[in-house]
């Protein structure tokens, strides 16, 4: 999905935030197909849910 090369008008606030973007993650994601990106998103969601569940159980056990 190559974008058109028309440059976006820079916004100074967004430009400041851009400094902190990890471009290496973007470069790796752009190597994947759309389907692979969405499957990766679902795997990440599942992992986060598992962490939340484990955290809830650990916190409950300590109380």
């Amino acid at each position: 999905m190559k974008s058109k090369s028309r440059p976006l008008e820079p916004d100074p606030v967004i430009e400041a935030y851009k400094k902190d973007v990890d471009v290496t993650l973007i470069v790796e994601n752009l190597k994947l197909s759309v389907e692979e990106r969405l499957r990766k998103l679902m795997r990440t969601q599942k992992f986060i849910e598992e962490l939340r569940r484990a955290t809830r159980e650990t916190t409950r056990d300590r109380l």
Binding site: K2, K4, R6, D20, N29, L30, E35, R37, L41, I48
Partner: protein
């Protein structure tokens, strides 16, 4: 977990006219940020609303965050009378949007969308440039990091 594969294939195979927007659209474009719901803008024609309702009927759609037992009926009349719905379904969280701020509805967004093959179906995805424009127009501070990342993606894609 929201099952994007089942939700997207269910809608596409039922012939529902919709465009994927929001966080999942950002992920599809290459964002590394995590989102937990699927946002779609659907066409508001009576025929499309019928297809939408028929497609989702078997997934037990219910208003997200609402207490159980409210008289919410997911049917054509409800969808036609309302506009945007935040739902839970058996496949996860689904936001049905009749319009989005600054972007309008399905017909207005379609020229700015791209058709993508995914999960064995084809569906419309809001284009990266329009996604950035809409997030910028919304002007919400919580979106600043996401916009910065999308603009980095745009720069990478434009190389």
């Amino acid at each position: 977990m929201t099952d994007y594969e089942n939700l997207l294939t269910l809608l596409a195979r039922a012939g529902v006219e919709f465009i994927v927007v929001g966080g999942v659209a950002a992920s599809a474009h290459g964002s590394a940020r995590v989102t937990e719901d699927l946002d779609v803008v659907y066409a508001r024609s009576p025929g499309n609303i019928k297809r939408l309702v028929d497609a989702l009927a078997s997934t037990n759609p219910y208003q997200r965050g609402a207490p159980p037992g409210l008289p919410f009926k997911f049917d054509e009349e409800t969808i036609a009378k309302g506009l945007n719905f935040t739902l839970t379904t058996d496949f996860g969280w689904l936001d049905l949007l009749g319009e989005i701020t600054g972007g309008g509805g399905f017909e207005q967004l379609l020229p700015h969308s791209v058709k993508i093959p995914v999960f064995g179906i084809e569906c419309w995805l809001l284009g990266l440039e329009r996604l950035i424009q809409l997030k910028r127009a919304a002007g919400r501070p919580k979106d600043f990091e996401a916009i910065a990342e999308l603009e980095r993606i745009f720069e990478q894609e434009s190389r």
